[in-house]
Every structure is written in C-alpha cells, then in structure tokens.
C-alpha cells in the first residue's frame, strides 16, 4: 500500500510539473481576446477567422473568447481591472460611456486590400450611433454595430393572449402571479417603463422619447420604482440569461426580455412543442444596439479591427443571426433575402412589414418576421437608451431596492429571539460562575 502511494505521489508530481510548464506558456501578441455577450455568436466563425486572418495578413492569431451577461460587469473588468481585452461588445449606453471616458480606441478602417465591409452597416444604425456623438467625437469612429433588437414581452401562447401583453401594464396583471420573468438589467426595465409612464405625453408630443432616455430625475425613478414594487409579487425570477431556457420549460408565461433571446427561445420551444411569441407593447419601447469597441488596454488592435470587419461580411452576419436569434446591423440584400426565406419557414410569425428604415426605400412592404424587423410603425415608438453616467448609481440603487431584500417581520423576530436567548444564556452562565467563585472564596 505504502509503495503504491509513493508511486502515486511521484507520478502526480511529475504530471504537475509537466502541466505547469505546458499550460502557462502563451504569447499575448498573437492572441485576440474577445469579450462578448453569452450566446452571441456562431462560435465556428472564431476558428474560421483565425484562418481568414492568416490568409489576409499572414499573421497567426489565436482567439481567446469569453462571455459576460451584464454590461456593467464587462465595463468593470475593463475600467477597474484594466483587463487587456482586444475587443468587447457593449450595449449602446455603455458604448457611449466608454467613449466619453476615453476607454475606447478609435477604429482603423484601413484593411489593406481587404474590402471595408463595415460599409454594410445599415444607415439606420449609423444614425442611431450618431445620437451618441459628443462635440468633437463621432461614435461611429469608435464603434461599429454588431446586433440590435428591441425590448418586449416574450409570452407563452398557450396561457397568454397577445392582447394581455400589448401593454407594459401586463406586469401588474394578477393573472401572471409568479409567472413573470424580469430581465435582470435595470436599464432595459427602467427605460420602457419610463416610456409607459409618459406614453400619453409622448402621444401629444409634449415629451420627446429621445430626451426621455436621459431622464433620471428622482420623481421618474420614484414612479418606476412604485410600479416595479407593485409588480414584484408577479415576478418569479430575475433572469440575467436563463429566461429563454425557463420559458421553453414553461416555468413562467411572460418574460420581459430582448427580441433576440425571444427568437432563440421560440426556436428552442418549437422543438419540444411549446408555442412562444414576442410582442413590443403599444406604448413603445427600447431599441438597443450592441457594437464592437476596442478598449483602451487592447494589445492586438490590428486583429481586433480585422475581426470587426469580418463580422460585417454578409454571410457571417447571416450565420450569426441564425445561431443567436438576434438581428445583425448588416443591411445588405443577401441579408434581406435570407431573412425573407427564413420568414417563410416560420409562417406563424411572418407578416408584411415596412422595413424601409433599415433596408432602404424599396423594402417598404416585405414578408419578414416582425420579431426580427419590427414594422416602421412600431419602431417609431422605440428609442435608444442613453448613458446617464454618474446618475446610473441612482438607478442601480433603485434596482437593488426593487429586487431588494427579502427581510420580513418573521425573520426579524426569529433573529431577535435567538439573540436574546444567546445573551440570556451567556449572562446566566457567567452569573453562575461568579457565584461559584464567591462561595469558593468564602472558605
């Protein structure tokens, strides 16, 4: 037995040393560290890019791919942790913040003899990015769009009628008690509710939606908080990412989520015979744009630039869309064709929509899946979020208040009782001992 264990120890040590030397040797300059949303890319493209990049530039590159599911976490890693990611994919308002805080490197669209595919990005997206411009800096110089989508309700057609979720007020509907998943992203809940609150003001034009996106006034926050507080009894879970899975498992009926996640879930659900659908409530909503940014601490800038370009090639965009269910910002005819074919495969979701805002004037009535490409009419009611920088704190606090603590009277009582019990016990013991000491001293 002893011998055996000696041997084992030796072997282990050898293995240890080997693995040590093996696993730690990597050369950073030939790596491309990408930090992207979870489930947000066709991963086979990663290897293909390595070859493509080699073909174009003759440089080897090894992609290190990591994912996050909360914008702020990603930002923290870069801003505080100074992580040396070469490429990240934040959402609009974070893009805005990163640019403003000088965390983004300007893009270099000089790809040698490789065509500049970033030109494929829909003007619609460019415009929206322009809203983030600050005097002297143009957002489009720092970031290229990747995917976009809207915030809305994914719902289970078996239990929920479309009309029941056509307003944000659905979250207050007692029918959905413990049947509602909230997206665990405060911005994507706050802004739509802001629109919901001000819907009539928007209607009569007293308030401009885009301005609304900057609104973090205390009263607005208070109003939103009030609604959420009331809605809380319905919430069965705050999902960062698991909503889609759970919806397919019918753990809940309604999910406040992103169009892309909804689409992904719808595909998943079909396989096991669950009918899900997605709707943008009538009051209007957020549309979000995720874009590539090369962070300040990037090392392999060239590869990063090329990767962005690579992502903008129509066929790659289409592949990403198929895998992730999100909508690429690329607006080429190939994309349009692919999407129309796709729509035909899912007649249940197909509609005639006006997407001229995206694909250009001739696409004013095409059969598409409105979950991917909402009709111009509903897009008109959607606005892009803006960065509220320092004031974000206030939102965060509101959010944590809402999700908040589960402390209730019972708990407090319990704790109180225990504390008292412990104290009493301690006191009594010490008393006893004291009295002993005394009577001990007496003699």
């Amino acid at each position: 037995m002893k011998k055996l264990f000696n041997a084992a120890l030796l072997f282990v040590f050898a293995l240890a040393v080997l693995s040590c030397s093996g696993s730690n040797s990597y050369d950073r300059p030939h790596q491309l560290k990408i930090y992207n949303w979870a489930d947000y890319i066709d991963e086979s493209l990663l290897e293909e890019f390595e070859d493509w990049y080699y073909a174009q530039t003759g440089d080897r590159v090894e992609i290190i791919y990591q994912t996050f599911d909360i914008n702020e976490v990603m930002l923290a890693k870069i801003e505080k942790g100074q992580a040396d990611y070469d490429l990240v994919c934040p959402s609009d308002y974070i893009i805005e913040r990163m640019i403003n805080r000088g965390l983004a490197l300007p893009l270099d669209r000089n790809y040698g003899f490789v065509p500049d595919y970033t030109a494929n990005v829909a003007p619609f997206v460019i415009e929206n990015f322009n809203r983030m411009n600050t005097p002297g800096s143009n957002a489009n110089d720092y970031s290229v769009g990747y995917m976009w989508g809207t915030v809305g309700f994914m719902y289970n057609e078996k239990y929920v009628d479309r009309s029941e979720v056509s307003s944000w007020s659905a979250i207050l509907n007692p029918k959905f008690e413990q049947k509602l998943f909230m997206k665990d992203a405060f911005r994507d809940v706050y802004s739509p509710l802001l629109i919901y609150i001000n819907s009539d003001k928007i209607a009569d034009g007293t308030v401009d939606v885009d301005d609304l996106m900057y609104d973090v006034s205390d009263e607005s926050i208070a109003q939103v908080e009030a609604i959420l507080a009331e809605a809380k009894k319905n919430v069965s879970g705050w999902e960062a990412d698991f909503g889609k899975e759970m919806m397919t498992q019918e753990k809940a009926w309604v999910n406040w989520t992103w169009s892309g996640d909804a689409m992904w879930a719808i595909h998943e659900a079909e396989d096991i015979g669950v009918q899900l659908n997605y709707v943008i409530p009538d009051e209007g909503s957020n549309c979000f744009f995720d874009g590539w940014i090369i962070p300040k601490y990037a090392v392999n800038v060239k590869a990063a630039n090329y990767f962005i370009n690579y992502m903008c090639m129509s066929e790659n965009a289409i592949r990403n869309m198929d895998v992730t269910g999100y909508v690429s910002v690329i607006a080429t005819d190939e994309v349009l064709q692919a999407q129309m074919e796709q729509a035909l495969e899912q007649p249940h979701y197909a509609e005639v929509v006006d997407v001229s805002y995206f694909f250009g004037p001739e696409a004013d009535s095409v059969v598409l899946n409105p979950i991917y490409y909402p009709d111009a009419s509903s897009m008109a009611r959607c606005a892009m979020m803006h960065d509220t920088d320092q004031d974000t704190e206030k939102l965060l606090k509101m959010w944590s208040r809402v999700k908040g603590d589960n402390l209730d009277a019972k708990m407090l009582v319990l704790i109180g009782v225990v504390v008292v019990a412990v104290v009493v016990a301690a006191v009594m013991r010490s008393k006893k001992n004291k009295s002993r000491r005394k009577s001990g001293k007496k003699r």
């Binding site: 909360i70 976490v73 923290a76 705050w238 603590d405 589960n406 708990m411 319990l414 704790i415």
Partner: protein
C-alpha cells in the same frame, strides 16, 4: 552557504518559508480588504462606504435576512444531524465507518453541482423555487458539515463517562442530557461554525435555488466586486470578516475547526 545549511539544519527554521507565504497570501490580502474598505474609488481615505452601508437598508437587511436563513439552516442541520451523528457513533452500526463515509461523500461533490442537482430535483417534483427551496437546498449542502464534527467528538467520547453516570444512578435519558450532550458540545459548536458562516457568505447557491429572487450577503459582495465597486465590496467583506471573528470567539477548540481535519 554554510550558514544557510546550518540555518535549515534547524528544523524550526523550516516554518519560515510558510510564514512568508502566509504573510503574502493570507495576511496581506486581509489587510488589503481593510485598506480598500476605507478608500474611495478615486483613492484616499473615506468613510463613505460605511455611511452607504448604514444608509442603504438593502445591505443591512440582506445581512439580517442571511443571518436569519443561516440560523434556520443551522437549527435544522443540528436537529437532523445530531441524531444521525449520535446513531453513527453508537456502536449500533457494525458498518459504521462506511456509513460515515456515505454521509461525507456529498461534501466532496462540487457545491454548484450539488445545488444544480437539488434544483433539478425540485424541478422534477414540481416544487416552485423560493425561500422554502432555498432552506432545503442549504440543508442539503450543509448537513454533512454538521454531522462530521459532532460525530468525531462523540467518537472520541470516553465510554467510562457514560458508565460513571449510569453507576451514579442516571437512566439512559439522563445519561444523554447530563453527560453525552454537554460533552459533545464542542462538536456542535464547530458544526455551527461550519454551517452558519458559510450559509451567510455563499452566493450562487441562493441565486440558483431561487432564480435570483433571494440574495444572501455573499451575493451582494460578489455583485459589488463584479460591478467594479471594489471598495464597497471590500467593506461588506470586512463586515463579514468581523462576523466570523466574533463567532470564532465562541468556538474554543480550533482542532475541530476543520471538518476535513476530523475526516483524516
């Protein structure tokens, strides 16, 4: 050279490397926690973090709530675990050591795996996730940590104490309550140490067991660190640390401190 040889000839000096190692990887980090806790993101000393902690009732409440859950969990673990440990230690079980091993094994399965398995179980029997499932899951996770130390103490317990008690006229009931129980207290205490604090400080487990509905103190520490609010996170950790120190004052004998130590 000769000096060094002679220095390491003294075996007492062999503790020096570890001393250095611990200073770097145990003591310094804890000092850093304190350091960050009293530092503003911009740098420089500040008490803001404490202020926010006191003003934001969320953190405090979450802490209280976690303590509450921890208390319940600990209580249940004792109620379920003590009898188990008692039975196992009593010679009644011929195959005792095997049984003990059976109780320990779950302890060595990755905590997340265990939790996910538990979640799966609840899903399987269609129990909605919530506070109840949270407590259940916690008990699942921590019961072994309660049983082991109690078992080890009862194991070591000298039979002659029990005989002496019987000899002095105590029936089995009284023998238990007047001798066995008091003498096994150290085990219970260290069991509490192994269950109470971890329950407060775990994260992930609570999230998974309640679909992010319920946060424990550990969760908000992690959230703050992840969201880059290191200083506040550090403060929360510091508070956690103080709690641990306080509870440790109650725990006299450190040997029992490691469930693992008991296992060896």
């Amino acid at each position: 050279m000769g000096k060094i040889k002679q220095f390491f000839g003294r075996r007492s000096s062999w503790s020096i490397p570890y001393l250095i190692f611990m200073l770097i990887f145990v003591v310094l980090p804890l000092i850093l926690v304190v350091f960050y806790a009293f530092r503003s993101p911009q740098g420089g000393f500040t008490l803001d973090n404490i202020k926010t902690f006191i003003n934001e009732k969320e953190s405090v409440n979450t802490l209280l709530y976690s303590i509450g859950i921890a208390l319940i969990n600990t209580a249940i673990c004792i109620l379920l675990g003590y009898p188990a440990a008692y039975i196992l230690s009593s010679s009644r079980f011929s195959s005792s050591s095997v049984m003990v091993a059976l109780f320990l094994i779950p302890m060595f399965i990755n905590v997340l795996m265990r939790t996910l398995a538990t979640v799966a179980l609840f899903g399987f029997i269609h129990v909605p996730l919530g506070q109840a499932t949270l407590i259940f899951g916690m008990v699942y996770n921590y019961l072994p940590f309660m049983i082991l130390p109690i078992y080890t103490v009862l194991q070591k317990l000298d039979r002659s104490y029990i005989e002496a008690a019987q000899d002095l006229g105590a029936d089995s009931m009284r023998v238990f309550f007047r001798v066995t129980l008091p003498l096994s207290m150290p085990g219970v205490v260290s069991g509490i140490m192994m269950v109470f604090m971890p329950t407060i400080s775990t994260f992930a487990i609570a999230e998974l067991l309640t679909m992010n509905n319920i946060k424990l103190f550990g969760t908000i520490i992690q959230e703050n660190i992840n969201n880059g609010m290191w200083n506040y996170g550090a403060l929360l950790s510091l508070i956690m640390l103080i709690l641990i120190v306080l509870t440790n004052l109650f725990n006299e004998d450190k040997e029992e401190a490691s469930a693992a130590g008991g296992l060896i």
